[in-house]
Structures are given as structure tokens and as C-alpha cells.
């Protein structure tokens, strides 16, 4: 009898506790939601205020420009293939910037990652230093380095390549280091026992283990870097972005060229996206199959 009432007491207490908890959670959630919504609204209002054209006004004009470009491109549709061919070299340059930067960035990122991973680092005491270096490389937007280098080296693909490579090295350095942390140390120890030096241990013992993962991350980065290299072209570093800016600043009369560039860029990005998606799926699945057999 006493036991039973005690149990009921417990039950009511638990229920009250639970109701109080859910209510508190609901209140917190509500406050957070209100805060978030008001932040969004206030932020939107501020942005709208500081913009040259208003949101409501712009909304009506949003299709004007694409329509202008399209009508002109359609009028001169006979010239479109010629334009596509004409801008192909610029597109190749943009792709080359992205590819070279990805390659250099991957190499740099690999070195940074190996130097900042516990158990693999050449100077274990300097691990925090290399981590900070990677952090800083990652934090600098490409445009900053590109603009400064354009001033020194002159316009062209090299500043963009260096800028993207630095950022890529930082971004991949962090990801690679996370992968390298899970590496099996047995091959490394085996190599060490044969007298292999650090570079040999890394190249023969670690890289084969992490290779597929590294390549898959690098491919992902390549997609991102194509976009980045197009944007950097727009601010003065060669490639298709530069051509786009020229066509744009000319305005009406050369919209057919702008349309050709839009098409090239769109098709390239989608194609590379698809290709790298497939490749990455094969890389990760291949690695998994290899591990199980």
C-alpha cells in the first residue's frame, strides 16, 4: 500500500518534471525562433536600405537583363557557334588555372597535413604552427591574394593560380590531416625498421593508404576552384571571367558574346560536377571494396 502511493508520487513528480522540461525547451525554442526571425528581418531591412536599388523595385526588373541578353543572342544566333569557338581558349585558361592551382594546392595541402598530424609529423613540436599556417591559408579569400599579386606581377593567370593554390592548400591541409589521423601506423613502422627516411615513409607508407580519399577531396576542390577562377578572372586575372567583364561593360551590342560565355561557363561547371561526382563515387566505393577483400 505504502509502496504503491510512493510509486504514484514518483510518477507524478516525473510527469511534472517532464512537463516543466518540455515547456522550458519550448520557451527557449520560441525565444530562439523569434530572435532569428527578427535578426533576419532587421538584416534584410538594413541590406535593402544600403542597396542602391530597392528589393521591391528590383524584383520587377529581375528578368529584364536576361531577357535583353536572350533576345539579342537569338537575333544573332547565327554567330553563336563562332563566339563559342572564339571564347574556348579563355575557357581553357580558366580550367588550367583551376587545375594547376588544385594540383599545387593538393601537393601543398598534403605536406601541410603530414606535418600537422600527430604520429606522422617530422617535427612533432611544430604541429600547432603548421595547423595555424593552414588555418590562415584557409581564411584568406582568394581575391585578396590575387589583387595584391596582380599589382606586383601584372594581370594574367599566374596571380589567380597562386591565390587559389594557397587557399586550396589551407582547405585541403585541414581535411587531409583529418584523414591522415586515422592511418594505420604499421606500414610506417615497418618502413622505418628498414631504414627508410621520413619522405620515403610518407610516400610509401601513408600516401597509398590515404590516396583515394585525398584524390576525392581534391576533385571536389577542383569543382570549387573552377568557380573561383572564373570569379577571379572578373577582377582582372585572365580567363573567361575577364572576357565576361569585357563583354558586359560593353553593354548592348555585345550581349551575344555574353550569352556565349554564360553558356560555356554553365556547361563546363555542370559537366565537371557530373564527372567528378562519378569519379568520386568510384574512388570511395573502389576503396571500400579493396578494404573488404
Amino acid at each position: 500500500m505504502t509502496d504503491l502511493t510512493a510509486g504514484q508520487d514518483d510518477l507524478t513528480r516525473i510527469r511534472e518534471d517532464y512537463t516543466a522540461l518540455t515547456q522550458r525547451k519550448r520557451v527557449y525554442g520560441g525565444i530562439l525562433l523569434i530572435l532569428f526571425v527578427s535578426l533576419m528581418a532587421a538584416g534584410f531591412h538594413t541590406a535593402d536600405d544600403r542597396n542602391a536599388g530597392g528589393f521591391v523595385d528590383g524584383w520587377r526588373r529581375i528578368l529584364d537583363y536576361p531577357a535583353e541578353v536572350l533576345t539579342e543572342a537569338l537575333e544573332k544566333s547565327a554567330q553563336l557557334p563562332a563566339h563559342l569557338v572564339h571564347f574556348l581558349p579563355a575557357l581553357v585558361e580558366t580550367l588550367n588555372i583551376a587545375a594547376a592551382a588544385t594540383l599545387l594546392g593538393t601537393l601543398g595541402g598534403t605536406v601541410l597535413a603530414l606535418l600537422s598530424t600527430r604520429g606522422l609529423a617530422y617535427w612533432p613540436r611544430l604541429i600547432p604552427l603548421f595547423r595555424r599556417i593552414a588555418d590562415i591559408c584557409r581564411a584568406v579569400p582568394e581575391i585578396v591574394i590575387a589583387l595584391v599579386l596582380i599589382f606586383v606581377l601584372g594581370g594574367g593567370p599566374v596571380p589567380a593560380m597562386i591565390a587559389i593554390a594557397i587557399h586550396t592548400a589551407g582547405a585541403l591541409g585541414k581535411l587531409f590531416s583529418e584523414v591522415a589521423e586515422n592511418v594505420s601506423l604499421k606500414p610506417v613502422e615497418g618502413l622505418e625498421s628498414t631504414g627508410a627516411n621520413w619522405a620515403q615513409r610518407m610516400y610509401l607508407g601513408v600516401i597509398p593508404q590515404v590516396g583515394p580519399n585525398f584524390v576525392s577531396y581534391a576533385l571536389l576542390r577542383f569543382e570549387i576552384n573552377i568557380r573561383a577562377s572564373a570569379i577571379l578572372g572578373f577582377v582582372g586575372a585572365g580567363g573567361i571571367g575577364y572576357e565576361l567583364r569585357n563583354a558586359m561593360s560593353w553593354g548592348q551590342g555585345r550581349y551575344d558574346e555574353a550569352a556565349a560565355i554564360f553558356i560555356l561557363l554553365f556547361v563546363t561547371i555542370v559537366a565537371v560536377d557530373q564527372l567528378s561526382d562519378r569519379l568520386r563515387a568510384r574512388l570511395t566505393h573502389g576503396a571500400r571494396a579493396g578494404a573488404t577483400t
Binding site: F36, M40, T46, I62, A139, I231
Partner: protein, 456 residues
């Protein structure tokens, strides 16, 4: 008989092993060779050999020197005889009439102490420069005969550059230029000039302790005002610009998430049985993602004009495609058992979504959105440079002037700090919102793999 077969097997095995080794060796040497060949092609395609000729190393030197040091100009107008002192020769950094820093002694003959025995005297007629270890150099500008110079005996050293109408002396202490119209001395200092207060502020040149004392005496607001409205560095405007950049990233990222979430339900196989609708929504995601942020920025800038709203919308549009793709994939991976469990308690459709689906996808969604918030801060800097908003605009403007490199260095520092701060903030929020709620980490191996896909 049996030995023959084993022999055959052995030979066969050896062949296979050999082939494997050859293939591995080919791959081992071929891949690096391919990379090297490509880099060699790039080397010539990008005209690296010609780069040295095109590069302007003087620009580089100015840039580096200017980013951590500044010069003060002491200028004498040789027609009126008036002497003015100005930081970087800018109007905003000019000392008031009759005032000068303590190393300049104004008077009939203005004496400028460049330290270590280097002394320049602007006399009424003649400019004199005492150079230790060389002697005294005299230059007399005159209207009819250009600049008449008197050098100490001996060969003219290469740091003195003279012509009929001009003499330039560059030493480690500074630089003297005399032309017919004016005489000018540059003295170099380390640091960022007038960073805290400009010359017209009453607080310029006070020590931190003195400032603290005055702040305690009720001048804190005036001191802050002087700093915030510094006309050289415009701290207030810079803070606004940083705020604008973060605002673009915030509005773009969360706006995109809000738009993408309902669309993602339409694109997920287990929530939308209508295959054509699914297909259409997915193609919309692909299209929006494929039309790069650059093109969206250009198109939107035409409609909305330059400013932060355009940047925010460009991020919003591009990312809603990416988010849609990620979210729909997350939704397709939702565990149906949990929804059935909720359904078994008699929950209706709305409750099933609320308690069966949302808790499962929230961690993935939030962590994705927060990842993007950080990376979009970087994108907002870049987009700001194109559309004209935020810190990106200030940076490009400062670079275009090609002389305010100390400001460029300051902006770069601020951008790096801003991105690192957002990185830290997004990591902290992720930890709080996703792992803080439950005892055990929800992030499985699979989830972390998915995160990697998104790294922007």
C-alpha cells in the same frame, strides 16, 4: 604429372605477379610524370619565363615597405618659403600651420633632424644636408638656373641623382628632393600612421596611461568618438563594411536554407511519389547551382543595383541549389522506422513530420548550414568586390589607389580575423546545437563523410 601442373601454376603465378608489379611501377612513375608534364605545360602556357620581365618588383617593394611603415613629408615651397609637414603628404595628415613634430624645428632656417647625424636645413636660399661620412651637400634652387648643387669633393655616389632642375638624395635615414619649385624631405617611420587619432584630435600623441586617466575623468565618449571617426582610417566605416559582409553571408545562407527545405521535400523520393515533379525540382537545383555565383551576381546587380542586398541574393540563389541537393539527400536517408514509431502512437501527418523527420535531419541540416555560413563570409568578401558592398569593396578601392598599402594590410588582417571568427563561431554553434543537446555524439561516420562533400 602433378609436378608439371604446379610448375605451370607457378609460371602462371609469376607472370601475374610480374604483370602486377609492372602495372604498379608504371602507375608509380607514370602518375608523377604526368603531373610534372602538366605542370611543365602550364609553365609555358602561362608564360612563366616572361613573368619576370612583366613583374614590377618596385611595386612589390613599395607594397611591402608601405604596409608596415610610413613616411612623413616636410615640404618647403621655394616660391613662398612656407614649410608644411604632412604624414604621407596627405591633406588629412597635415600638421596645423606653425606646428611640427619635435624632430622638425621651424624658423627662418628650418632644421630637420633625420637622426644618426643626418641633418637637413632648409635655409632662406640654400638647402643643406649633413651626411655623416660624406660631408655637407648644398643645393640652391633658382628660377633662372635650375638647381645649383655643391657636392663634397670626390666622385658622385650612386645614391645621389642629379640633373639640371632636380637633385634627389636617398640615404638610409630618408630622402631629400630639391627642385626649382620645392624642397622636400621624407622621413620613414615603422608602424601605421595616425591609426588611433588624427592630428586634429586633442588626443593625438597621448600615452595610453594618459588616455585612460582622461577616460576615467569622463572623456571616454569623446575619446571613442575621436577614434571611431578617424578621417585617415575611418574605423567606423570599416566596421560597417565588415558588418555588411557578415550580413550578406548571414542573409544569403539562412535565406537559402529556408527556401531549400520545402523544395527538398519535393525532391526526395520517400516524400514525393510524383517522379516528374521530383525530376523537375532536381533539375532546378542543378540549374541554379550550375549558373555560378558569378553569373548570378552579374544578373542580380543589373536588377538591384550595387549593394549588400545584391550580394546576399546572389549567395541565396546559388546556395539554395546546393542546399536543396544536400537536404534532399539527407531526407532520402531518413530512417523510416522512427516515423512508423511516431505513427503508431496515433500521430497525424504534421506530427509525424515534426517528431519523426525533423529531429533526424536537423543535425545534418544545421551542420551544413553553419559550414556554409563560414565559407559564405569569404564568398561575400569576393562578391562584395564585384557588386560593391562590404569590406570587399573597401579592399578593392584601397588597392586601386595603389598607395594606401597600409590600409590594404589592415583590411586583409581584418578579413582574415573575420573569417577565423566566423569559423570559430560556426564550429562552436555546431557543437552547442548538435552535440550539446544529447549525451552521445549524433555525428556518425556517415554524417562526417557527408560533411566533407560540402566543404565549400
Amino acid at each position: 604429372m602433378s609436378t608439371a601442373t604446379t610448375d605451370l601454376d607457378l609460371i602462371h603465378l609469376k607472370h601475374r605477379a610480374d604483370r602486377l608489379f609492372t602495372r604498379k611501377r608504371l602507375l608509380g612513375f607514370g602518375l608523377p610524370a604526368l603531373v610534372l608534364a602538366y605542370l611543365a605545360y602550364i609553365f609555358f602556357a602561362f608564360d612563366m619565363p616572361g613573368l619576370a620581365a612583366r613583374a614590377n618588383w618596385d611595386n612589390g617593394r613599395t607594397l611591402v615597405a608601405d604596409s608596415y611603415s610610413y613616411k612623413t613629408h616636410v615640404t618647403r615651397d621655394n616660391r613662398s618659403g612656407a614649410v608644411s609637414v604632412a604624414v604621407e603628404g596627405e591633406r588629412k595628415g597635415t600638421w596645423p600651420d606653425g606646428q611640427a613634430p619635435d624632430w622638425v624645428d621651424l624658423g627662418e632656417t628650418t632644421v630637420i633632424d633625420l637622426e644618426n647625424g643626418h641633418i637637413v636645413r632648409f635655409g632662406p636660399k640654400t638647402v643643406e644636408y649633413d651626411i655623416p661620412g660624406y660631408g655637407t651637400l648644398r643645393a640652391t634652387p633658382s628660377r633662372s638656373r635650375g638647381v645649383v648643387t655643391e657636392l663634397p669633393p670626390g666622385e658622385v655616389p650612386d645614391w645621389i641623382n642629379q640633373s639640371k632642375n632636380r637633385i634627389t638624395v636617398t640615404t638610409e635615414a630618408g630622402r631629400l628632393t630639391v627642385t626649382r619649385n620645392r624642397s622636400e624631405v621624407f622621413r620613414y617611420f615603422t608602424g601605421w600612421e595616425l591609426f588611433w587619432f588624427t592630428l586634429d584630435s586633442p588626443y593625438h600623441g597621448l600615452s595610453p596611461a594618459e588616455l585612460a586617466r582622461r577616460a576615467a575623468n569622463g572623456e571616454a565618449w569623446a575619446i571613442w568618438h575621436g577614434f571611431w571617426n578617424n578621417t585617415m582610417w575611418r574605423h567606423g566605416d570599416v566596421a560597417w563594411a565588415i558588418g555588411e559582409t557578415i550580413l550578406m553571408a548571414f542573409l544569403g545562407t539562412f535565406g537559402a536554407a529556408i527556401i531549400a527545405l520545402p523544395l527538398a521535400f519535393l525532391a526526395a523520393r520517400n516524400f514525393n511519389p510524383l517522379a516528374p515533379v521530383r525530376f523537375a525540382v532536381r533539375r532546378v537545383f542543378d540549374f541554379v547551382r550550375g549558373v555560378d555565383a558569378l553569373i548570378w551576381t552579374v544578373v542580380l546587380a543589373r536588377a538591384f543595383g550595387p549593394g549588400p542586398l545584391t550580394g546576399a541574393l546572389a549567395i541565396l540563389v546559388t546556395d539554395s541549389g546546393t542546399f536543396g541537393k544536400i537536404f534532399s539527400e539527407a531526407l532520402e536517408n531518413v530512417d523510416a522506422k522512427q516515423i512508423e514509431g511516431v505513427q503508431s502512437t496515433g500521430a497525424n501527418a504534421a506530427q509525424r513530420y515534426r517528431f519523426g523527420v525533423i529531429p533526424q535531419i536537423t543535425p545534418v541540416l544545421l551542420s551544413q548550414v553553419l559550414y556554409f555560413l563560414e565559407s559564405n563570409t569569404r564568398s561575400a568578401t569576393i562578391i562584395g568586390a564585384i557588386t560593391g558592398g562590404g569590406i570587399g569593396l573597401l579592399l578593392t578601392q584601397a588597392i586601386i589607389t595603389q598607395k594606401d598599402w597600409e590600409e590594404v594590410a589592415y583590411y586583409i588582417l581584418l578579413i582574415v580575423l573575420m573569417v577565423m571568427l566566423m569559423d570559430w563561431l560556426s564550429g562552436w554553434l555546431r557543437a552547442r546545437l548538435i552535440r550539446g543537446g544529447s549525451d552521445k555524439p549524433r555525428k556518425t561516420r556517415d554524417a562526417s563523410r557527408r560533411d566533407a562533400f560540402l566543404l565549400p
